[in-house]
Amino acid sequence: MLLTAFPMVASLYLAFTDYDLFHDPSWIGLQNFRDLFADSRFWTSARVTAIYVLVGTPIKLAAALAVAMLLNMKHRGQGAYRSIFYAPSLIGASVSIAIVWKAMFIDDGIVDRIAQVFGAPAGGWVGDPSKTMPMFILLATWTFGAPMVIFLAGLKQVPAELYEAAAVDGAGPARKFWRITIPMLSPVLFFNLLLETIGAFQVFGSAFIISGGTGGPADSTLFYTLYLYIKGFAQFDMGYASAMAWVLVIVVGVITTILFKTSNAWVHYSGDNR
């Protein structure tokens, strides 16, 4: 608690100062924030992260839900499939996987060759600013295992009688999905959405490794956290980086609040207390 609460306050103070770690911080009021909003790289990093969160999270959750529904069917070998699909979640953020990803998506790499078979122009994804984001979203999607496991636990709670009753009433698979699965799963969906959104804001290691710590090419992988690191720990502009951190806190806070508020409208809790 000491290690969190005190730094929070210290960070808020630093956000209003000019501090380079070697000289005492000097109070400069809102200057950091003014500089921030005039900084085009700041906006680039915000855009990169926003796209990653807004596009990557829904794709990952959709994949997780689809596979969870397959795993919820009565077949042999479900335990094995579940473990295999979960494994990438444990290592997806590791440096090792970032290296593998880079090697797969580089010029003349596997992905490049396969894409050429399907008529795509030659060229790796790592060096092409328009393709780096899809590469990161694929990496995020590859780690769909963690939300999948949570979805699966939720699916097992849905009473089978509901589907049986719906079938008797003549409901097709699509109708069952939208009218039973989604409403019954909405608390889990909400939980996953919250968790994955917050997680997506914090992606760092893989971006650092794949771009060599620069956010390149052409700042296309300049994730917010990476820019914060560059500002704070490569350029030692700690006041500026603290201001960035607080902007992130406020944005994530607002999004969390919105998610919670809107959840009243679409999250359905069954009568029994969960």
Partner: protein, 325 residues
């Protein structure tokens, strides 16, 4: 296959509906004129359809398995290939497989051997497990069982830090540890673990402890036990599953952690594996993919061993503890 998939939708639906009804309720509808033979035929067809469905299911799942496992398997086999056969080589096999890459990787970088990095990572991970287990279980006991003033507020703050981007604390923490002269020690990486700053684990254990029957500690209290005794002799043994789950995750997260060591460990002989790996990539960027792959594989071995040994705990931990959020 097409002959079977052309089965009218309506029939399969009514079959499902029939399956939904309890056995013996078949005649309740009043018009079920099927004789024994027709019933058997239908059962046979149903079984065949079920077999085909299972076949289709496994085809889909196996395809997904191949896609999911491919990057990992490719990394593993590439680590045995010569460097010039790695990039762009979709095949998982080469005629020139050897362990040369591993020899290169194990020789280390910048005069520091691989096992130094490995030992550093291991020390950090094991100390993290000890720290998390001790501090999180004690603070969880306080939150779950002791009525101290401000408990609600503290608990709310702790949950808040779960949702908070950790970037807001790294700068002041760095400034603080820098002033204490603790950069280039393991202390900044381990202190949060020993001081229960890792809210996730505290939360996990609080949730678990709340489900343990209070009668146990009340009985112990009547027998004259204090909090220390109740915690050590009653709570800790009962919390084994929660402790195992959090130990596994504490280990794996520490093992994979990149940002912490990147900030605090600046001397090569203190590097943990991920940082060493990064240095390796920077130094050998174009030349030695083979050794990179070998080192990447070596860095993942402990995590994979953990996963294989404890997959039940890991997957169930995510499913159950995750849900309680």
């Amino acid at each position: 296959m097409s002959a079977h998939t052309s089965t009218p939708q309506t029939q399969s639906l009514s079959n499902q509906a029939a399956a939904a009804l309890p056995p013996g309720a078949g005649g309740a509808g009043g018009h079920d004129p099927n004789g024994e033979a027709a019933k058997a035929a239908r059962r046979g067809a149903a079984r065949r359809r079920k077999g085909l469905k299972a076949l289709g299911f496994h085809a889909v799942m196996l395809a997904a398995t191949v896609v999911v496992l491919y990057p990992g398997v490719w990394m593993l086999t590439s680590s045995f290939k010569p460097t010039n056969e790695i990039i762009g080589n979709i095949s998982l096999w080469s005629d020139n497989m050897s362990v040369d890459n591993f020899a290169t990787a194990l020789s280390g970088i910048g005069g520091v051997g691989f096992w130094t990095f490995f030992t550093n990572s291991m020390i950090l991970a094991i100390a993290s497990v000890v720290g998390v287990t001790l501090s999180a279980s004690v603070s969880a006991y306080a939150f779950a069982r002791i009525n101290f003033p401000g408990r609600g507020v503290f608990f709310a703050i702790m949950i808040g830090t779960l949702l908070l981007p950790f970037h807001v604390v790294i700068i002041p923490q760095y400034v603080m540890f820098n002033q204490f002269g603790m950069v280039n020690t393991f202390i900044p990486l381990l202190a949060p673990k020993f001081l229960a700053a890792e809210a996730f684990f505290v939360f996990l254990m609080v949730q678990f402890m709340r489900n343990l029957p209070r009668e146990l500690d009340e009985a112990a209290r009547i027998d004259g036990c204090g909090h220390t005794r109740i915690f050590a002799s009653i709570m800790l043994p009962l919390m084994r599953p929660a402790i195992i789950t959090s130990s596994i995750f504490a280990f794996i997260w520490s093992w994979n952690d990149f940002l912490g060591p990147l900030l605090y460990l600046k001397k090569p002989d203190l590097y943990s594996l991920p940082i060493a790996l990064r240095l390796y990539v920077d130094q050998t960027s174009v030349s030695d993919y083979g050794a990179q792959m070998a080192m990447a594989v070596l860095a993942l071995v402990p995590v994979m061993i953990f996963f294989i040994l404890f997959q039940r705990y890991i997957v169930d931990g995510v499913a159950t503890q995750g849900l309680k959020g």
